[in-house]
């Protein structure tokens, strides 16, 4: 049978999925053991014991000073910022993308604007952003929004243009005006794509969150990572990175399930 037609069995699929992670893990463990043998205090690649001790301390022991469980406090703060940022960016990206991709009169000014805005490196103009949004929670959320909205908007604009013109025409013969056409045809067809796009920019969103938390904050996963980086506490950083990855992956998985659940007609949902 041709390779392209060969699918793994259920069990085989699971085994194949786990394989690369097992390899990565083995690679890490080997290097970590090697380094720790040379220098038992080495901080770069801590052992699992060291990392679990760090997690134990941060997640299950109250902080001496504040009495908080830092790990969960950081997680809650970061998720709140990220959730708000993603929600705003999703709405803004959808509106901009639909307007630019569906309405030529809106696309003419919006499309170049979004393109150019998506190219401005936000981290380089932070001083101006501070003046506009201050240094509080708002600026952190806005950094995420500014960072990912243009990407979402451009992707959705592109997808809106890919809707077959026959369908737009058909809808008009069925009595749609511009507004209801967007409401009943364009938006529903773009919604699954929005969820897929959100999954694609999830990594970037976390990156902007971490960058934002490195700027001025007192909690958050990114804050902790940058803080302990000062003394190269990889035993804290690596579990935090793993946790961020797990959270991001869980959000990705939820969005995927959501796409399948809400848009059963969408074949792209099979991905």
């Amino acid at each position: 049978m041709r390779l392209i037609n060969r699918s793994p069995s259920r069990g085989g699929r699971l085994a194949l999925a786990i394989l690369p992670f097992a390899l990565l893990l083995a690679l890490y463990l080997a290097h970590s053991a090697q380094r720790l043998e040379l220098n038992p205090n080495d901080k770069l690649l801590p052992s699992f014991g060291q990392m679990s001790a760090a997690v134990e301390r941060l997640a299950f022991t109250p902080d001496e000073r504040s009495g908080d469980y830092l790990f969960w406090l950081d997680t809650a703060s970061s998720l709140k910022r990220l959730g708000t940022g993603l929600a705003i960016a999703a709405v803004a990206g959808l509106c901009l993308g639909v307007a630019a991709g569906t309405l030529p009169l809106f696309g003419a000014p919006l499309s170049p604007l979004i393109t150019v805005l998506s190219m401005v490196p936000p981290l380089a103009i932070l001083p101006i952003l501070f003046i506009v949004f201050g240094l509080g929670e708002l600026s952190k959320v806005m950094l995420i929004v500014i960072g990912i909205t243009p990407i979402l908007a451009r992707d959705l604009e592109q997808r809106a243009r890919e809707i077959p013109p026959e369908l737009l025409i058909k809808a008009q013969t069925l009595g749609a005006n511009t507004w209801t056409l967007i409401l009943r045809l364009v938006l529903p067809q773009l919604m699954p794509r929005l969820l897929i796009s959100l999954r694609l920019v999830m990594g970037s969103a976390w990156l902007f969150l971490i960058a934002a938390e490195a700027i001025a904050s007192t909690d958050g996963l990114g804050y902790r990572i940058f803080l302990v980086r000062r003394y190269m506490a990889m035993d804290v950083i690596l579990p935090y990175v793993a946790w961020i990855t797990l959270l991001a992956w869980a959000m990705d998985y939820l969005l995927w399930r959501l796409t399948r659940l809400l848009f059963p007609w969408h074949e792209g949902a099979k991905a």
Binding site: L167, I169, K170, T173, G175, A176, T180, L183, R184, H266
Partner: protein
């Protein structure tokens, strides 16, 4: 607007219409007047421009030259609810169930803000849509999505979608191509019933000449009168025969002066039916 030259009162006037894509002339010098309530069937060789002509009537594309008047006014350059269409490649909304695909046409004109009806009127619309779907034989597939339908079922769905709107002008591009003879007969009956009821004007492209002659009140034959073998795109198709079938008697009328040796393709075609 007041200039209704060549057929005052004609519902649709096609005036010296040309259409070309790049170098290729697809349609040239089309002239015709169509009265309200006519049932025109369009026949002609594959690739000669029938679908293109329907796109012009629909307002999806604009003629390269000439103009089309509707009720004496230049045709609105955008599709609207007065002109229904069934495309050649049945295009239905992939994200709506069969029922919603048809109900949509009842909801949109009546809900300019929400785009959907609520409560009682919603139930009414769905009821009406179900009846129409019953007529095209899709009542057992109301909740399926288009991707789960067979080719013929998708085509019937597209027909139901267009018919439920009761448009003034109905543009059908090979609407019954993928249907078996039994269902095709039902569709014929359905279409004729609607046509008699509402006196709508129909343009139907078909390759089945017997269908064209039995349904239509007028048959328009598209053909390329001139062909330059070295530049196949240099000349476009025209309406070479315009046959009125009113009152049961068939009167072939050459729409243009037509060299005898070029009548061949149409003859072949007709005999082949």
């Amino acid at each position: 607007m007041s200039d209704k030259k060549g057929g005052t009162g004609a519902f649709i006037q096609v005036k010296n219409v040309w259409k070309q894509y790049g170098d290729q002339v697809v349609l040239e010098r089309l002239n015709m007047n169509i009265a309200e309530g006519e049932f025109c069937t369009l026949v002609g060789a594959s690739g000669c421009g029938k679908s293109t002509f329907l796109r012009l009537l629909l307002g999806q594309e604009a003629p390269s030259r000439g103009e089309i008047l509707l009720d004496g006014q230049p045709l609105a350059a955008e599709p609207d609810v007065s002109r229904g269409v069934v495309f050649q490649r049945y295009s239905v909304f992939p994200h709506l169930s069969v029922l919603d695909n048809v109900a949509l046409g009842l909801e949109l004109p009546r809900a300019p803000f929400l785009g959907r009806l609520l409560g009682r009127s919603k139930r009414d619309a769905r009821e009406q849509a179900t009846q129409m779907l019953h007529k095209v034989g899709l009542d057992h597939a109301l909740d399926k999505y288009p991707a789960q339908l067979s080719g013929g079922m998708q085509q019937r769905l597209a027909i139901a979608q267009a018919l439920i709107m009761k448009p003034r002008v109905l543009l059908l591009d090979e609407p019954f191509g993928a249907l078996d003879p039994g269902i095709r007969k039902d569709m014929h009956a359905l279409l004729l019933e609607l046509w008699r009821e509402t006196r709508l004007t129909v343009f139907m492209v078909t390759h089945d000449l017997s269908e064209g002659f039995s349904l239509g009140s007028r048959v328009l034959v598209f053909d390329k009168p001139r062909i330059d073998p070295h530049a196949p795109g240099a000349y476009g198709a025209r309406v070479t025969y315009d046959i009125s079938l009113h009152d049961g008697h068939r009167t072939p009328v050459a729409a243009d002066s037509l060299p005898a040796d070029l009548a061949g393709p149409f003859q072949t075609a007709y005999q082949g039916a």
